[in-house]
Symmetry: C2
Subunit: 151 residues, 2 copies
Amino acid sequence: MARRQLAPPSDLHLTVAKRLRGDGQRYTSNRRALVEVLELTERPLTIAEILERDPRLAQSSAYRNLSVLDSCGVVRRIVTDDEYARYELAEDLTGHHHHLICSQCGRVEDFTISPQLEASLERAFKRVTARTGFTAEHHRLDLVGSCSRCG
Amino acid sequence: MARRQLAPPSDLHLTVAKRLRGDGQRYTSNRRALVEVLELTERPLTIAEILERDPRLAQSSAYRNLSVLDSCGVVRRIVTDDEYARYELAEDLTGHHHHLICSQCGRVEDFTISPQLEASLERAFKRVTARTGFTAEHHRLDLVGSCSRCG
DNA sequence: CTCAGTGCAAAGGATTTGCATGCCG
DNA sequence: CGGCATGCAAATCCTTTGCACTGAG
C-alpha cells in the first residue's frame, strides 16, 4: 500500500476528515494523497495527471476513492467534451468559480466573475426554476475556446 | 438502407444541405432523418433516444453521421455527468439557450435568460479573456439539479 | 464507374468491478 | 478479530473503426 509521511493536519484535512466521517468513511492515506495532489494544483486534473503527480497511487483505487470523495462532497468530478473526466476540490473548500475549457487540448483553468453578476444569474435562475418545477442544486458557467498555448 | 418518403424541403433542410455541401458532404436520407428527429424534439437526445424515435437508423451510422453533422455545425454534441452524450440542433438554427440538467435521470431541458443578462456575461467574458490569453468560442451555462419528475 | 455512405460485427478505451489480501479501528 | 480499503486483472459499456456492399452523381 502507498504509505506517506505525516504532515501537520491543516484546516482542509480536518474538514475533509470530518466530511468523510459523516458519511461513515475513513480518511485513509490514499484519500489524503488525492486531496493533497488536488490541493497543490489550481486547475482540475485528469486521473492520469493525478497518477503522474503521485505514482504510488493505484489507478483503480484512485477511481474508487475519487468517487467516494465526490459522494462526500470533498471533490467534484468535471466532464467536458474531452475524453477524460477531471477532478478538483469541492467549491465550498476552494471558493465558487468557473472554467475556461480548451477545446483543442482539453485543459481546464479557473476563473471567477463579479459577485454582482453572480447575483444577477441567481435571480434569473430563480425565475427559471419557478417556471419549470426544476429544483436547482448549482450552476455551471464555462467558457469554451482555445487556451494560450493552443490559441 | 433506411429510405424515407419525400417531404417539402423546409428552410431548415435547405440550410442544413447547404452547410453540408460547404464541407463536401452529402445530405443523405439518414442524415436528414437525424435532423428531423432532432427538429421534432425540444430537448437534447441521446443516441439511444434517437434510435428509438427512428428505428430504421443503424447505430453506427447514427454515431458517424452525428459526428459529421457536428463538424459541419448542424448539430451540437452535449456531454453531462450522465453516461451518454446528447445531441441537439446547432444554436444558430434554433436560437441561443442554456440547459437544465437533471442529476438524477440525466434529462436535459432548455431555457433562456434575458438578452441583458447575456450581454453582461459577454462583457465579463471579455475581461477574463483579455486577462488570460484565452480565446473564447462560446459559453455554456447550465443549471444542475432535479427535474420535476425526479423532484 | 467511382467513391462516399451504410450496416454489421469487432475493436477501443476510459471507467468499473471481482476477488484475494492487508490494515485500521 | 471484522470489515473496509487496496491493487491487480478482468469485465463493462459507450463509442469508434474495419470491411464489404450499395447507391448517388
